[in-house]
Point group: C2
DNA sequence: GTATGTGCAAATCATTTGCATTCTC
DNA sequence: GAGAATGCAAATGATTTGCACATAC
């Protein structure tokens, strides 16, 4: 919608195309459709949700293709997997990434989302104010390890 | 092994029994076996791993029972789900819980584990020293939300 | 034209469920 | 003895794969 948004999508698209070219893969119809749908998605989504959405909209892609392209996008660094202990895989764009956090209830599995701050202690009062009883936490960084960076250097 | 360890296991067992009693559930053979195996497990494990282990050791439990008891233990707060974006469910004890962190490679999905510090910035140099290129992070708190606390109060 | 991408149907794999049987309280 | 727990086999649901056909380069 906004100029920034459009620009970011273009950058992501360029990143994807660059990746495909470099990897000797093709710019196919399926890849375009799925890329598009991913960019339209808000927040995090599961592979199934995206696939279902495509099918419901009668887009010309099959479920397996959605899954396949999702892994392309992962490889390309356009999306990333989020760290939820759920049965399904969750993804989200890389492009709207700001450090963002979640508190999950071990009973109902619902998430409370909260804004970024500098130090982890800062979050406790915030969550407690919402009545969330904290049992522990885990910081989850994602990135590329040395070995994989070396491999990519090839 | 150590005295502390044994004591903690006893405490966890007591917690589990208390939960079962309170919930009007029974102290069955299956629950004892699975509790035992969980306490022997190191770090995090998947339901499948635990089930397979039980079957390989010819323990008197079936796969569905392992799964069922695992959810009892979750309910009882003896184990918790960890926040990994994997197809399987990961669990770990609550009892050896210290704030601990993981950095995961988006390529090979391997984890780098690292010790707890006070502020999240502190981790960056640590990971970078290991050649891990950080793309982002996510703080994951687990606990019980207000609604579920209220429900438990019943 | 050739190698890659795709859909379809079928295979997998972890997890869950129905139900008859066995056990705990 | 009644209500729970369990095993078994079968169901489920997400994800993946084999393969013949279609398409991008």
């Amino acid at each position: 919608m906004s100029k920034v948004n459009t620009q970011m999508i273009d950058e992501e698209r360029a990143k994807f195309l660059r990746y495909l070219t470099k990897a000797g893969r093709r710019v196919s119809h399926g890849r375009e459709i799925v890329f598009d749908q991913v960019m339209r998605a808000h927040g995090h989504f599961t592979a199934e949700e995206l696939a279902r959405g495509c099918l419901e909209k009668k887009l010309k892609v099959s479920r397996p293709t959605v899954y396949r392209v999702l892994y392309d996008l992962l490889e390309a660094g356009v999306i990333r997997e989020t760290a939820f202990g759920d049965k399904h895989r969750h993804f989200e764009h890389v492009y709207d990434e700001k450090p963002h956090h979640h508190a999950q209830c071990i009973r109902c599995h619902r998430f409370i989302e909260f804004p970024d701050r500098k130090e982890d202690e800062v979050y406790h009062p915030y969550l407690e104010k919402q009545g969330f009883k904290i049992l522990g936490h885990e910081m989850h960084f994602y990135g590329v390890c040395r070995k994989c960076q070396d491999k990519e250097g090839l």
